[in-house]
Symmetry: D2
Subunit: 450 residues, 4 copies
């Protein structure tokens, strides 16, 4: 099919290939969003009198067809289609004639793309939040199951003080739980409707931007038409930034897991279905997925850099450079979803080795505890510290589990507050699932008459 702007002169093939690249692979994920956006826009055009009622219903029918074809894997794009937006408009024109030719009234591909990306962002942020809370829940359950298993706590990669498996896993559950704050800020930024901003300069027609915003389930209209366009990449970057924080948490867990499953630590084992082997050393059991997880945090940071680097110093209004934010944005979403699933599964397959863990709780990790005992006996801490430091070799044996229980302040090994954490994670997860369902229902309803 022809490009929307076709003027009769074919575009050089090398240039076309350079410009389209693998954009279509990504656009394939935007078919539904573009259908919803187009439908809301068509309804508004009908209220404006640009389309009549019959045309509107024809369009509704054809857009339902597009969704059905897409679901069946039969709505495939080719480079000549340029992008998903052109492909859908061309489909309408081909099947409807004039009604199809009218649908681009009062919009531009610029705001069309913006709408599709916002709908995609909202859905994916909720999906990530659900996966995040599932993973946090698995970690909290793991913490509860092994709450009082002693393990050395490390600083500077050296044994420092007594800790517990419950503390270790609970720390990650809380970290992931906190990440939802950043996901939600990104959601709020994306939850505004750019539709009607057209090419960034509005249109000389009395369109109803509030109507389409409501129909698409946006919290509000993004007001200034130029700002709508200038914010291309901004919402996407906010998503990738939030996901980057998630990946940092996962990379830390990966590093811990890799260390704790070495022969030298031996704190955890993992089921054979999770490991890979070597082509040359028959004994090897490698946690390759955790090595990849560590590396993937760097991949995510590179996606963050790419998404944002492209935006530096772009002048106002649409610039084709923005296309280069789509791929890292959508890759970032896929990476985060996949990574959360992998970590969720990995944690479910870890087995603490209590004997090795306890054996690693060597006397020196109680040095600070011993200093606190002296504090209890009235010695100023700094003096107690020096006194214990001078007699490290004479530290008496200590019962690890007893010692864990004695740390009773908020958040310490004897008071991790895991049941409440588990309950809150479950509540928030249920709420995110509900929100996603509501959003999807709202969108599907656009394809029914209003």
């Amino acid at each position: 099919m022809s490009k929307l702007w076709d003027k009769g002169q074919p575009l050089n093939a090398l240039i076309e290939q350079f410009e389209v690249g693998d954009d279509l692979v990504y656009d394939n994920q935007l078919v539904e969003a573009d259908v919803y956006g187009s439908m809301a826009h068509a309804e508004m055009l009908e209220r404006l009198g640009v389309l009549n009622a019959a045309e509107l219903e024809e369009i509704r029918g054809r857009l339902q067809e597009v969704l059905a074809l897409h679901a069946a894997g039969e709505f495939r794009m080719t480079p000549a289609d340029e992008d998903v937006h052109t492909k859908i408009e061309n489909y309408l024109v081909e099947h409807l004639g004039d009604a199809g030719k009218k649908i681009h009234t009062a919009r531009s591909r610029n705001d069309q793309v913006l709408v599709a990306l916002r709908l995609y962002a909202k859905q994916k942020l909720l999906e990530v939040e659900i996966a995040l809370l599932s993973c946090a829940g698995t970690l909290a359950a793991f913490a509860a199951e092994h709450e009082m298993v002693p393990m050395p706590g490390y600083t500077h990669m050296q044994r420092a003080m007594l800790s517990s498996v419950g503390t270790w896993a609970g720390a990650y559950a809380e970290a992931l739980f906190d990440d939802r704050l950043l996901l939600r800020a990104a959601y709020e930024l994306n939850d505004q409707s750019p539709l009607g901003s057209a090419a960034a300069y509005g249109v000389p027609l009395p369109i109803d931007r509030q109507y389409v915003a409501d129909r698409l389930g946006f919290a509000r209209v993004q007001n200034n038409v130029l700002y709508a366009q200038n914010s291309r990449g901004k919402g996407e970057a906010a998503v990738v930034q939030a996901l980057s924080q998630v990946m940092l948490d996962l990379s830390k867990l990966a590093q811990d897991t890799l260390l704790f499953t070495t022969a030298e630590y031996g704190f955890f084992t993992i089921s054979d279905a999770m490991v890979t082997g070597s082509s040359i050393m028959p004994q090897k059991k490698n946690l390759s997925m955790m090595e990849l997880m560590r590396a993937k945090a760097n991949v995510m940071l590179a996606l963050q850099q790419q998404t944002m680097g492209v935006l530096v110093g772009l002048p106002s209004g649409y610039n084709k450079d923005y296309q280069e934010t789509k791929r890292p944005f959508m890759d970032a979403v896929d990476l985060a979803l996949q990574s959360l699933a992998v970590v969720d599964l990995t944690v479910s397959n870890l087995q603490p080795q209590e004997e090795r863990l306890l054996a690693a709780c060597t006397p020196e990790i109680y040095a600070a505890d011993r200093a606190y005992e002296l504090v209890g006996a009235g010695v100023p801490f700094r003096d107690a510290y020096r006194q214990v430091g001078a007699g490290l070799s004479e530290l008496p044996p200590i019962d690890a589990r007893e010692s864990l229980r004695r740390r009773t302040h908020l958040g310490a090994s004897g008071n991790l507050n895991l049941p409440q954490l588990q309950a809150t994670i479950a509540d928030e997860g249920a709420s995110a699932r509900q929100k996603l369902e509501a959003l999807k229902s709202h969108w599907q309803s656009i394809l029914s008459k209003p």
Copy 2:
């Protein structure tokens, strides 16, 4: 003074230099925060019975002295002090003996540093929000003043459609206004108290973490002790991420300003006090500060990369690597504050050149408008588009201001909604200033008896 952990063996000088670096310059900005954190901790120790009432008041007095010395520029650190936390503890020991030696009971430098960075982050985020809203206000006022001055709207750096100076400046006002959403998420992440997590493994004493959190004005306790330490860098990264978005907006404005003040565009002039000259070309007037602003967005992204790159794959518990997140974090804050002030000032000094702007509104930018007129006459948009495209040279003259007024939908040139935008910006600015004042008062009150 000696290091807290001094064991009699001096640290190699090269290693010391490598480890301290310019950290002290940054620590100098944390004196107040450490004093507040230390005071809250001391109060808690007194309630626990570790300090008696007299010791507590001695400590309060000496910490007041530290603040006074710092305010007078006389509390300078040297490499031998290692860091601000050591320096302050050493000061107390030196002047108070045992009372000073007791203050480190039940805390570690790890949670001490975390507290100081959180207090710093909260204060600076509010300062940035104030500067951000001031700059947004200046832009909105500029938009209101020149609301109906026509200017070409660009896409792909090519003249596209009619726009206005009001639309242009209003777009930036709204962009900055949106950035506060990200600042606030970063604030919420930082608004939890790590105090009492000690070296990440808690302490075997019944400390009251909620008390110190309340005294320091934190919204809540950060529960899991290991998570508190593992989150080192996470809150900082969230701040730098939010600031990165601000800088992207400013870099776009910088690029526009640079283009619009070239001889070729000539849309804006700027007062001579803002420009620099050339060593060799006597005629030059350069907007160097806008070029720097464009570059500084890249600097900020590098700070973001550094802050987050350091965190990838660090195992649980404190690692010295974290020190390398402090410098980019604090540099990012300074950069954002300075940049907002510079842009605020720059916008105040811009003068639109109405004649040049109008002259640039050449007939082809009305092509889409003309297509819409045909739509009004019943021609399907895609046909109208082709029809106008074929007769570009015959487009009739159009009155630009009249045309601007006719774009009446939400957010278009004739309906920018600037008065409400200005009012909201002013309200939010007042609220941020109030919040900052309240925070400072709360902190200062810690130095009085509770």
Copy 3:
């Protein structure tokens, strides 16, 4: 087919998907390299007595088959194949039995991958150098064709001094020409044979590493077996670094081209086959490919960051993290090759608009020239500068072409030395093409008896 390390327990499907990802797409580009590496290794094994002469020739025949299947697009990998190296070994085992099972003697997938990536790197660096020199040649020819066309020279995006189209285009020709220095350093780093380092710890067999290095056309053996493995990613990073410099040059050219084709500058036009249009504004002619080029430099820097970020802090020996350097490395190569072709084509389609260029050479750009005239009359430069600065409005008209000719020192507009530049570029291009042909012949000869 089964994995090389298969132990009977199937790998979890989610983990498998996470680990293989789109790696196979990239591996598809390494089939030839792995065949060459395997063949050289097999020859060496025969000299060692591990294979007999008949087995060697069977292997040679089957590897020729692999190449033929690959050329016909029939050697496709599936996730179950794990990677290209497994696929090829499995192919040999399937068709040859014991001879196939012997080929992995004294090597590991680790050194196998290293060899394949080095061969790929060497070939691609030569291809990039050829494309680079072609593009430099096009620019030099463009410079020669329009050598004396006046154009303003800019500093700070403001008109500064008189320049010429020859100077402008020649600057890019020389920039690209310099980039080959960096390509060649990357080549030298990659031009050492890792084969025989096995899993990084060598093998207890008297293998002949020099023989395989010579057979594969490497300049030398990479000696230390652990260094061979530790250098995974290092050679790749050096390639991406060199390509990043190329992309920076291209992004500058893109920005210039975008500016110079705006309505405001109007210095260049470009043929219609190179531009794209707008879905809403029928008049638009956009140089989208130059906007993308600008953005792609950021993409390349993100690839550089990814390739290198993954390497930070990896412990000695192979880590699966390295897999994440393959994709950005190979993407970077493809991006550079495509970008050079696009710029080459773009420059060929630019047309300087002499009238607009001359009109932009407004009197103030001669201010420095006028100051030099006063210097010629004995006025100290700094005084002349001030004198001219005070009388900017009275500068007399100057003949631009005459003035260009009068700049006769090395590298100035009147002495750009273009013929020699063109000759050198042509020579170097021929030499790179020759080197690439020789390399390919050398490799193909491995499939014949030695």
Copy 4:
């Protein structure tokens, strides 16, 4: 003193602060380079007749004074000086009047800055190469001293095959040795003289660019005047790229060292003068400098990103944005020099713990060796691999040192070729020191009559 371009209107203070920033701190390192560049330029001006012989000698004398003042720490810049180049010109004008005012004839601050940065780059690259080869020498000596001490070789952080301390340390010696290839490419790129390109558009005077290039010891003139300016940042980026590769090698060594000194590995100990302690745990000995080293690789990558990110999409000619490449460039040089010294010292203080190392060579690391034995007995490797894999628990004991010796192929534990490596490193080090001395002598000679 006044700015070179001063037109009577003072620059706004906030803008001045934003533009100068801490640039002067960095400029302080460029005093010598600017003096040499100015002197060469002055000599050329005398040959051109702009200066007479007496004026030239006065300038020579005053520039010698500047060097002497600088050496005494008395040539300090203030923000009002703008930069080192202005400061030096102002000094000459103040003391010499007309002769000083003439020195800026036929040059611009643009080429002046370029010259200074190139001279700085050349000197620093040689200093880094010397430090690099010293560190490589220390590693090679360490390898030789402990050549046959067995240690497990790791892949995927799991014990894999037998290795040796000699192999481990030798791998790093070779890695650093290879890095000099990249340093040298960066050197070659910087080894061309930009002097005479002025503001990027040359001058209408018959200056002798070859003369000044020779006087300053450049290998050649950078021809095209605009390319000279467009290459600002390019040479700097090449330096930072090469240093980034060095830092990646050091970060790997840091990670290994951190792992190998944990309680769990216990392979190395380090002298007490190298470690730091904890404020709360009296037993701790932390290798903080190695943690920092790991983090500093990320810092370096951020510097690389900053240096290069700033360059993306800058239009031709000088843009103030370039100033933001100076700081990361010079920081990168300092960081690399310091890091190499720290690693050099650290390696000198490591002590292998032979018993722990040998104890870690557990039977399974000989699995591949055992498979090779079966290969020796005629079993195809893939079958031997499966056979050994099935009987891992029955592997017989093996003499580690004997086994190390039996790996006799190039680069394996029994044939590391350390004496030749040490000799080559020593030779290259001597040659780099010689080259640096020659360069410095050449520069100092400029201050004597030619």
